[in-house]
Symmetry: C2
Subunit: 203 residues, 2 copies
DNA sequence: ATGCTACGATACGGTATCGTAGCATAAATG
DNA sequence: CATTTATGCTACGATACCGTATCGTAGCAT
């Protein structure tokens, strides 16, 4: 019966039937609104440019209420960062090269279009000085390397790669250049570039 | 006759003999002290954590004087960032693989030990929202990719690489994985990893 | 002696920010 | 209807920060 707001990000996994909602529906609404606006502000201004006052103004949720749900600014921002990002789908097309081509295209597409990628240096920087933030980021990062490991291991199982392949190194060889282009050299992430990286990595 | 302070960073190129020092020696001293302390603070707290008041406190240079030399905080920080970093030496050992091995070792060594690398995400983040900062960073970045391009082109000239080699892509394939490990996956940057990356990139 | 240049010390105006207190209000629950 | 719960609103206190203004001084050259 309850109208689900667009995001279920903050919901803890709930046993299906017997509800007994420990938190009011209003809570979920407030939290969702706050998290959404926080993410927007993160994209616009980066981690250190986001203020709680501005979140309150823009979300329509009173600052008081925000502090009723998060103990402080850092926790709120970490929470928002944790739900940033869109998951990669893991392809399964039968061949290593096919899977990697699809995955790399997906990934580079995300790097170039998704708004939230602009805030990643900000998050990493925060993690450079905040252990909890670093841990949060680590989980985020793993979500993106996991599909690569999966398709690589499948390729190994099919004998398309030698059994002694260094998987983390291969993941680095594939995704590293994309990160590099996006944030360090700032050259365009073209389709041709991605193809070239795959060619180099797989021979 | 003038006693040179440790750093000549801020000095404009000066015609050798007839001096006529447009800036006092005191100026050089103040600026050097301020830039040094600013760099330290950048390493500790990142771009947005540095305040002019703190720079003044720690350097012993009055805030007034700081604002006599830089128009505002952003310019000061950009100036400090521009002089951060240590240059790579370009090896010339006669073979592509030898040059790249030396260069990559040098580079990964720097990524893991140099204090200033911890502030790079901060700089990049600032660049996401500040054009001048982005331009400053671009020059910094080019200083590090240039040696790679040089040794690769020399290798091409020697016929160790096909003439149609995509140089920027190869640079990305080599350095990207190092960046990736240092900032994104945070796995250790071991010698074995570097060797593996070279093997993948050169076959 | 007289400038000139650069600097230091202090204080200030104005703004932004975090996090909290007090009180009123709307809605769900019994 | 009464009670509990979650929220809204306004106003603070405290701190930090930017950038400037004012006044006084030290060193050096003429």
């Amino acid at each position: 019966m309850r109208k689900k707001t667009s995001s279920e990000q903050t919901a803890a996994p709930v046993e299906a039937g017997q509800a007994a909602p420990v938190t009011d529906d209003r809570v979920r609404r407030s939290k969702a609104a706050v998290l959404a606006v926080t993410a927007d502000l993160l994209f616009e201004r980066g981690y250190s440019g986001v203020s709680v006052d501005e979140i309150a103004r823009r979300s329509g949720v009173a600052k008081t209420t925000i502090y009723r749900h998060w103990p402080n600014r850092a926790d709120l921002l970490r929470d928002a960062c944790a739900h940033v990002g869109t998951p990669l789908t893991t392809p399964d097309l039968g061949s290593l090269r096919g899977d990697l081509t699809a995955l790399m295209a997906d990934f580079s597409q995300m790097l170039t279009t998704a708004r939230w990628t602009s805030v990643l240096p900000s998050i990493i920087d925060a993690g450079e000085r905040d252990a909890e933030m670093a841990e949060m980021y680590r989980r985020l990062q793993q979500g993106y390397s996991a599909p690569f490991e999966t398709v690589i291991r499948r390729g190994m199982a099919r004998g398309e790669l030698p059994a002694e392949t260094d998987v983390p190194a291969l993941v680095a060889a594939l995704t590293g250049p994309l990160f590099y282009r996006r944030w360090f050299s700032r050259e365009p992430l073209t389709e041709g570039f991605v193809r070239e990286i795959i060619r180099i990595a797989l021979g």
